[in-house]
């Protein structure tokens, strides 16, 4: 009984319970059962995919012997790994040994299609919801969708070789935040991630916002479905809306967030009049959950609900009669506005460089945004070329990791095997950073202060990770020991700690983390490992 509980009440009266519709899962289960009787090979394939879900076997490429930072401060290569990836794995540092290698690395990350990522794609494809078309998502329990969505985010962050893409996916998820718990977003947020955020994460800003504007989840989350022309009342009854619950005016929620959060920014120079005009331009988009017994999950433009008059947005006229094309004219205005360029530049610089973001870098990135028509790749390339990002030692290691990064960077650093399942999510929930659970449209905060209350849970995560107390996630200390030449290299433990901190530990850290002053440790000291992950230095990146 998914529907009656999960559907928002205002629409629940207008459609029958989804349980009456064709149950794809039931069908698939029958098919699988039939298949296993007929062909053993199919069964093996299923077993293989389940195995791959439990055991990623994701060892980083590169030399078997790991190469740790030798500098007492975070050097440029360590800095790049800290910011362009979710955290360095043991082999990664050695790959950036030369300036040419550094440039090649950045180039590749900016062209994610050039990177073979089949291993993580296979893992993600094995998720139950992965191949389910948008409309059929309604046949899945919301809990499964939430778990799959979070698991995909984690799997990709931990395993994907297209690391920059994954950072950008997270960036846009916050920028265009939709909480998965609101109404039908329980199902449609997954479609939003698949159809809006991921395809455009490294694409063109305007395409991203265009996709978002008519994404079912966004229309649900920001009440765009309630946004219709004032005069119209007849169309409402036909499409199943309860007119008694409708305010007889356009709903401004989506318009306001589009201006305030998605494009211009709160100080971007718009006023209430602009909000109302944008709401008029966006009016008329509808979402059909189902048609008779079939789920449709279709977004369509209904001219009867659209305000066909002329609109004036930020001083520019959108002529009357544009209909569905109003959205395009609106995006012409918003996406090319200098305030939008600055707003996006500021947020990018805050995530990649420093908080507060350095003014010169923001200027350079905003200029690149305008010059490249909001194409994300040249914008990021410009950001990576700023002196603040590239050369300034003062910004290195001075961004507080949000809990998701804290967890993912630890998993990557220790080459953990993980199913990215409930055990790991429980830790993120305690830290207040479970993917897709932020309630309000502004997304999880980028700044540090709201995250400072999470330290105890970070410390306990470190302990549970190292002691193997997280269900579905484990580290192999013996393999880690071999990676860092424990037993032969007297400095093995120090090198392992340096790998975790991105620089050599200072004398105090050596003492408090518990690094043997002399003599070759023959295995990784677990308490030192826990302490290093829980230390202040590991909270920065």
């Amino acid at each position: 009984m998914i529907g009656p509980i999960g559907l928002p009440k205002r629409r629940s009266g207008s459609c029958a319970a989804p349980s009456e519709a064709m149950q794809r899962r039931t069908f698939l289960a029958l098919l699988a059962a039939a298949g296993s009787m007929l062909a053993g090979s199919g069964c093996d394939r299923i077993a293989e995919s389940i195995e791959s879900l439990i055991d990623p076997d994701d060892r980083s490429p590169g030399p078997a012997v790991s190469w740790s930072p030798r500098s007492a401060t975070i050097d440029q290569a360590a800095h790049l790994l800290n910011r362009i990836t979710w955290g360095p794995r043991p082999g990664d540092r050695a790959l950036l040994a030369t300036p040419q290698a550094v440039e090649a690395f950045i180039d590749a990350q900016l062209e994610p299609e050039s990177i073979d990522d089949r291993r993580v794609e296979r893992r993600v494809a094995a998720l139950e919801s992965a191949q389910v078309p948008r409309a059929e998502l309604y046949e899945l329990p919301p809990a499964l969708i939430a778990a799959d969505l979070a698991r995909e985010r984690l799997l990709r962050a931990v395993m994907s070789r297209r690391q920059l893409s994954e950072i950008m996916a997270d960036f846009w998820s916050d920028h265009l935040n939709i909480a998965i718990t609101k109404g039908e977003c329980r199902w449609m947020k997954l479609a939003d991630d698949r159809e809006v955020v991921r395809p455009h994460a490294m694409g063109r800003f305007r395409d991203l916002i265009r996709a978002s504007l008519t994404s079912p989840a966004m229309l649900i989350a920001l009440d765009g479905l309630d946004n219709k022309v004032s005069a119209d009342a007849s169309g409402a009854a036909e499409s199943g809306f309860d007119p008694a619950r409708q305010e007889e005016r356009p709903n401004e929620n989506h318009a306001r967030e589009l201006l305030e959060l998605h494009t211009l920014g709160v100080d971007g120079g718009f006023d209430q009049r602009d909000v109302m005009e944008v709401a008029r331009a966006l009016s008329g988009w509808t979402f059909t959950h189902r048609w008779r017994r079939f789920f449709t999950a279709r977004v369509a433009f209904d001219p009867a609900r659209h305000d066909g008059g002329a609109k004036v947005v930020l001083g520019t006229v959108i002529p009357a009669g544009g209909g569905a094309e109003d959205v395009e004219r609106l995006l012409d205005i918003l996406c090319s506005h200098p305030s939008t360029a600055r707003h996006i530049a500021r947020r990018l610089c805050r995530v990649f460089i420093a908080d507060p973001p350095p003014a010169a870098a923001v200027d350079a990135v905003a200029d690149a945004f305008i010059a490249n028509d909001g194409r994300i790749r040249p914008v990021l390339r410009a950001l990576f070329a700023t002196p603040a990002f590239r050369e300034d030692p003062a910004v290195r290691g001075r961004l507080l990791k949000r809990p998701l990064r804290c967890v993912v960077s630890a998993l990557r650093a220790l080459e953990a095997r993980t199913d990215c399942g409930a055990g790991l999510l429980g830790h993120l929930r305690r830290m207040g950073h479970e993917p897709f659970q932020h309630s309000t449209p502004e997304g999880y905060p980028l700044e540090a202060p709201p995250w400072l209350g999470t330290l105890l849970w970070r410390w306990n995560f470190a302990a549970d990770l190292v002691r193997g107390a997280i269900p579905g996630t484990s580290i192999d200390r013996a393999a880690l020991g071999r990676r860092f030449d424990f037993g032969t290299d007297p400095a093995a433990q120090e090198r392992l700690i340096a790998h975790l901190l991105g620089r050599r530990p200072d004398a105090d850290e050596m003492e408090h983390i518990g690094i043997p002053a002399a003599g070759a440790a023959d295995s990784v000291d677990p308490i030192a490992l826990v302490t290093a992950l829980a230390s202040p230095a590991f909270q920065w990146h």
Binding site: K9, P449, W451, G453, N460, I513, G514, G519, P536
Partner: protein, 422 residues
């Protein structure tokens, strides 16, 4: 605990125990009656003929009710709350609830805990806004129970604990990592003088320093906000640790069961001044809980008794923290006026909401009495299939209580906590 004062005392801004009293930090305790509690039995409209007619077997008779005013009484098992009513610190809002009309437990609880059709909880939004006004204690939000409630979903910090012991740093010891073979090897190494001089013994020595001591040293030297936060967390752990050995109050008689146990832990925590700003605790009771479709009478009496005894004991146990504590008792919906054929009641709409606190001001609330915006429960006044109408949005009451939470002056805009509820 091997923490020295030196290692944990940091510059300013660190929430200090017992100093909650000095700083005047207010705490909101949200008691949720899961299952849909029958407001008409908690606070029966004893003067209303329609009520008596609709509930021939389940009604609370005027003679047995605890009188409140000329319209309402309290269920006889709520006797422990009588003194609070008389002393003006109990306020009741009848016909309170949410706009959710599904009459589904799941949907209605979510709606109430999220404060509307939002993702994430209303307490979480409060804490997010509060966090930008000053450092939150690691124990700013405490959920007593096993799971984080929806109201705290997305909170910047939330300690879920059944007991004080749950707020603890993992005890990482060398022994637990030792496989039998490894410890045998260590003994063998230690037996050899040459090995003792080498790395093996040093490693053992390093391991003997606890995880906690190491953290105290590392965060003790960390500058800035992260260092402060680390030291504050360690200080909270130290205080909690001292509470572990403190016997819980025995003079106060809590009711048996999870609700009483949880409240006792919470009172101990709050008395210690650990910066608790919001706390949640569910009351489900035994048996079928508040969802009394079937033979309601006895089950309800037991629940009402447990609720009243628990709240009264909690209040006594709080000591001087009483002055800064507000308790609100919520339920997802009330129950239908007319009793059903199984001597029970079905899911309804409005219920009774209780607020316990010193110095409650009249507004939505009527301290020391019942606010009910209906004249009687005749048919034309009922909502939907015959339910007490929701005449007061529960969010209005919560918004009114917000200034009593957190440090004085750190006001949080209710519009941010309840977006769009206007």
């Amino acid at each position: 605990m091997a923490l020295t004062n030196r290692s944990i005392s940091g510059p300013g801004n660190v929430p200090r125990g017992r100093d909650d009293a000095e700083s005047g930090l207010g705490t909101l305790v949200v008691v949720f009656l899961r299952g849909g509690a029958d407001g008409l039995s908690l606070v029966p409209p004893i003067a209303d003929d329609a009520y008596h007619r609709a509930r021939p077997t389940l009604r609370v008779r005027a003679a047995s009710a605890i009188p409140v005013d000329d319209r309402f009484g309290l269920h006889p098992e709520l006797r422990p709350l009588e003194r609070h009513l008389a002393e003006g610190r109990l306020a009741i809002v009848h016909g309170a609830g949410s706009q959710d009309e599904t009459r589904s437990h799941f949907a209605a609880q979510d709606f109430m805990e999220r404060g509307g059709e939002h993702g994430g909880g209303w307490l979480a939004r409060y804490l997010r806004l509060r966090a930008s006004a000053g450092l939150l204690s690691p124990l700013a939000a405490v959920a007593v129970g096993d799971v984080q409630p929806e109201s705290l979903r997305g909170a910047p910090t939330a300690a879920v604990m059944r007991s004080i012991e749950d707020f603890a740093l993992r005890d990482v010891t060398a022994e637990e990592f030792d496989s039998p073979g490894a410890s045998a090897r260590r003994e063998r190494l230690s037996a050899s003088p040459s090995d003792v001089r080498s790395g093996a013994s040093i490693a053992v020595g390093a391991e003997s320093r606890s995880f906690l001591t190491r953290l105290a040293a590392l965060y003790g030297r960390e500058p800035g906000a992260l260092g402060s936060a680390g030291r504050a967390t360690l200080a909270a752990l130290e205080r909690i640790d001292s509470l572990r050995s403190t016997p819980r109050s025995t003079s106060v008689g809590y009711p048996a069961g999870g609700f009483g146990r949880g409240l006792r832990e919470l009172a101990t925590l709050m008395r210690a001044g650990l910066g608790v700003e919001v706390a949640t605790i569910d009351m489900v009771g035994g048996g079928l809980g508040w969802d009394t479709h079937f033979v309601q009478d006895q089950a309800f009496s037991a629940l009402a008794r447990e609720l009243a005894l628990g709240l009264d004991a909690f209040w006594s146990d709080l000591g001087e923290h009483r002055a800064r504590t507000t308790v609100i008792v919520l339920t997802e919906f009330g129950r239908r006026l007319r009793e059903n054929s199984s001597l029970g009641t079905d899911h309804g709409a409005g219920s009774a909401l209780l607020v316990l606190g010193e110095g409650l001001r009249a507004g939505t609330l009527a301290p020391g009495g019942v606010r009910a915006d209906w004249q009687d429960l005749s048919d034309e006044r009922l909502a939907g299939p015959g339910d007490v109408p929701v005449l007061v949005d529960y969010r209005k009451v919560l918004a009114e209580l917000l200034p009593r939470v957190g440090p004085p002056g750190a006001t949080v805009d209710p519009r941010g906590v309840f977006p769009g509820s206007g």
